[in-house]
């Protein structure tokens, strides 16, 4: 049919439009990059938005210190390829400076501590916009998120105070000290992200594909044995083929049993799956029903 646009191309066009609007409306944007598949796609969209010019703003990684080593290596390589300026904000530094306290106990994670590190980095560099790869289909409270999501001078998110978003007219006006979080992938699903990765020939960290790992069961999820997470007393450890559906930090990201070792196999697996991406593998969402909403109100991604 004449002038038909496949839905992936339509999503891409919308996202490029959003990225360009940020650049046009705000003075000091930054792209949040975790090395995960969504930020890989986001980075490619930003590349396309400004081509043939270079990315006009820097890339920020909030490093918990508990990242998968494969992801860090991937991050450095990919950012190096694009020639973008990488800023790494360290949660360990935030802890060392006494700004936050390391969690203790069996469910300890640095996940929530990232919020302070992120907000500190935003304040330090005076960023007025932060682009993230979050999608609305990821989680209940994200389903209500705007594309341009306003954060006050404390970095906080108040769902009742978000601006109505009509047509594709985005309002990014902020006062000094405030910033806006922008989500160009708002309307993308997990499957869309993978299909785009396949279509564009993008590389993602190897942990997304099946590989053998020593794991143990905990709280209904499979965790990798490593420097950050140790199996509780008496919990059996075994070797099996797993992959990661999402890249959080090692303390709260579970693996899934899988033999999918290629993008096509991953896509087939996701298309048939009966559990959401975060439901299967994110311990941080489980600790209470409102986990994500509470963290967002505090200023989390």
């Amino acid at each position: 049919m004449a002038y038909e646009v496949p839905h992936l191309r339509a999503l891409e066009a919308e996202a490029i439009h959003v990225v360009r609007e940020i650049h046009a409306q705000l003075d000091r944007p930054v792209l949040l990059f975790s090395g995960g598949k969504d930020s890989v796609v986001l980075l490619r969209l930003a590349e396309k938005a400004f081509w043939p010019a270079a990315l006009p703003f820097p890339v920020l990684h909030v490093d918990t210190g508990h990242n998968f080593p494969e992801v860090l290596e991937f991050r450095d390589r990919r950012i190096g390829e694009i020639g973008a300026r990488l800023i790494v904000a360290s949660v360990e530094a935030t802890i060392a400076a006494g700004r936050v306290e390391e969690e203790r106990g069996p469910r300890a994670s640095r996940n929530r501590l990232q919020t302070t590190t992120l907000l500190d980095a935003i304040a330090e560099h005076r960023f007025d916009a932060a682009l993230g790869g979050a999608r609305r289909d990821e989680e209940r409270s994200r389903a209500k998120e705007r594309v341009f999501s306003f954060r006050d001078e404390f970095g906080q998110w108040e769902p009742r105070r978000q601006r109505p978003e009509l047509w594709d007219l985005y309002n990014g006006r902020v006062r000094p000290g405030e910033h806006v979080r922008v989500f160009p992938l708002s309307n993308w699903t997990e499957l869309d992200v993978w299909e785009y990765i396949a279509c564009e020939g993008l590389t993602v960290p190897s942990i997304y594909f099946a590989h053998p790992r020593e794991v143990f069961m905990h709280d209904g999820m499979l965790f990798a044995v490593g420097p950050v997470v140790q199996p509780p007393e008496g919990q059996p450890v075994f070797m099996t083929s797993v992959r990661y559906r999402t890249v959080g930090d090692m303390s709260c990201t579970g693996a899934v049993r899988s033999t999918a070792s290629s993008i096509d196999a991953v896509i087939r697996e996701i298309a048939a799956t009966r559990v959401t991406e975060r439901g299967e593998t994110r311990a941080d969402d489980r600790y209470c029903q409102d986990g994500m909403e509470t963290r967002k109100r505090e200023g989390y991604f």
């Binding site: 038909e4 360009r20 043939p52 209500k144 009509l166 594709d168 309002n171 006062r175 959401t276």
Partner: protein
């Protein structure tokens, strides 16, 4: 891909309908089901799954049992990919309905089979019509509570049709459903053999929306200027808002009026011969004319109005009322300009569709307003082109988006 907005009064079962749609189309994941089961227990229901919980995502509304903000849900069938904008039915949140409808191809409105058409449904139908949503599906819900009686359905059809004839909605379809039990949502209802139309999902999968786009009037609002000094490159990045532009086309830059031609249409993948909505491209021009963000490219013989005054239908969303003399920032395509309210022609009484004089528009009011824009916008009537006929109003003192407008007339 089809975007549809759902609207209905609180208690009409809209959230249940969406939950049922996703559930029957097997789009709900196991962990989501487990969560619903757990939360349904907390609600003290009869143990049945409360599918509305699927879409009530925020703490406050789960506690209150109503929907506060627009929730976007995504699902696909073999035939089509869908985005649902689930808008709250509570009177106070009309602004969210306008948000959801602004990008929708189809609107789904729910009406309780036991009652007359409520004013909230009329307000939603009016908004749907104003926002140029071409296709409306009216689901007459809770048919189980009227014994699946065809007469009850027909009565609502007649009442709504009488109201809707005065609205400009091209295509209205009525479907009798029972969201709670699944009748005519995905599966055809065995309890209503008198109904010969399609169930809701089938209708949504097949409704023809391709012809809703404007492919006639070429409009390219410039979003960014892309410069790559090393290659002496200067291009104009943006999204085709309407119409089709081809390499070599004669174009005029507005508002300056300078004429030139398109030398190349570029994308990351390479050069293309033509650009059309909703594609994002970068254009280069043959002449070194002055072009910046906020300018618009079009054909010399088909131009929007370089408007310094517009008459528009405005949906007011701000806390402080709109009054004559008030000043705002208007964002129209990629242009942000000063705007001042000249006059309020009338307000629309949503229940009757009658016009009445108004000295102000309060939150949730809809009225026709004249605005003066000294720096000009490049406008088309909204009916002709959504992208170049729509705007938002921003209160410069609070930075809030306080209104959404649709151009009906424009004068230079």
């Amino acid at each position: 891909m089809l975007r549809f907005v759902t609207a209905g009064s609180v208690d009409d079962g809209k959230s249940t309908l969406i939950g049922r749609l996703l559930f029957d189309a097997r789009q709900i994941f196991e962990d989501q089901l487990a969560w619903i089961a757990q939360a349904s227990e907390g609600r003290g229901g009869d143990g049945a799954l409360d599918l509305a919980l699927l879409t009530d995502g925020l703490r406050d509304e789960r506690a209150q049992g109503i929907t506060i903000d627009v929730a976007y849900r995504y699902f696909a069938t073999a035939r089509r990919r869908f985005i649902i904008a689930d808008a709250p039915g509570h009177l106070d949140y009309t602004r969210n309905m306008v948000t959801g409808a602004s990008t929708a191809d189809v609107a789904v409105i729910l009406i309780d089979a036991r009652r007359a058409v409520p004013s909230q449904a009329r307000r939603h139908a009016l908004i749907v019509s104003l926002l140029g949503v071409s296709h409306l599906v009216v689901c007459v819900n809770k048919m189980d509570l009227v014994e699946y009686d065809a007469a009850a359905f027909e009565r609502i059809v007649a009442e709504f049709t009488g109201f809707a004839t005065r609205l400009e909605i091209r295509d209205v379809t009525f479907i009798p459903v029972c969201a709670l039990h699944g009748d005519n949502v995905v599966e055809r209802s065995v309890a209503m053999p008198w109904y010969r139309g399609s169930p809701l999902l089938y209708h949504l999968e097949h409704v023809h929306i391709a012809s809703d786009r404007n492919l006639i009037d070429a409009r390219f609002p410039v979003q960014c200027v892309t410069r790559e000094p090393a290659r002496e490159f200067r291009g104009y990045a943006g999204r085709m808002a309407a119409g089709v532009l081809r390499r070599g086309d004669d174009v005029v830059v507005l508002p300056s009026g300078q004429c030139t031609q398109i030398s190349h249409i570029l994308t990351f993948e390479g050069e293309v011969e033509e650009a059309y909505p909703p594609l994002a491209v970068t254009l280069t021009l043959t002449d070194p004319v002055a072009v910046g963000r906020g300018d618009l490219l079009c054909r010399p013989d088909n131009r929007p109005t370089v408007a310094r005054a517009v008459d528009a239908m405005v949906c007011w969303m701000g806390d402080r009322p709109l009054t004559p003399g008030a000043r705002y920032v208007m964002k129209h395509t990629t242009r942000a300009v000063r705007a001042q309210v000249d006059a309020i022609h009338y307000e629309i009484d949503v229940a009757t569709l009658h016009r009445r004089p108004a000295s102000a528009l309060a939150r949730n009011d809809i009225g026709r307003v004249r605005l003066r824009v000294p720096d000009a916008i490049l406008a088309d009537p909204y009916r002709r082109s959504r992208a170049t006929g729509s705007f938002i109003l921003i209160d410069p003192t609070t930075n809030e988006t306080v209104g959404g407008g649709m151009v009906e007339g424009a004068t230079s």
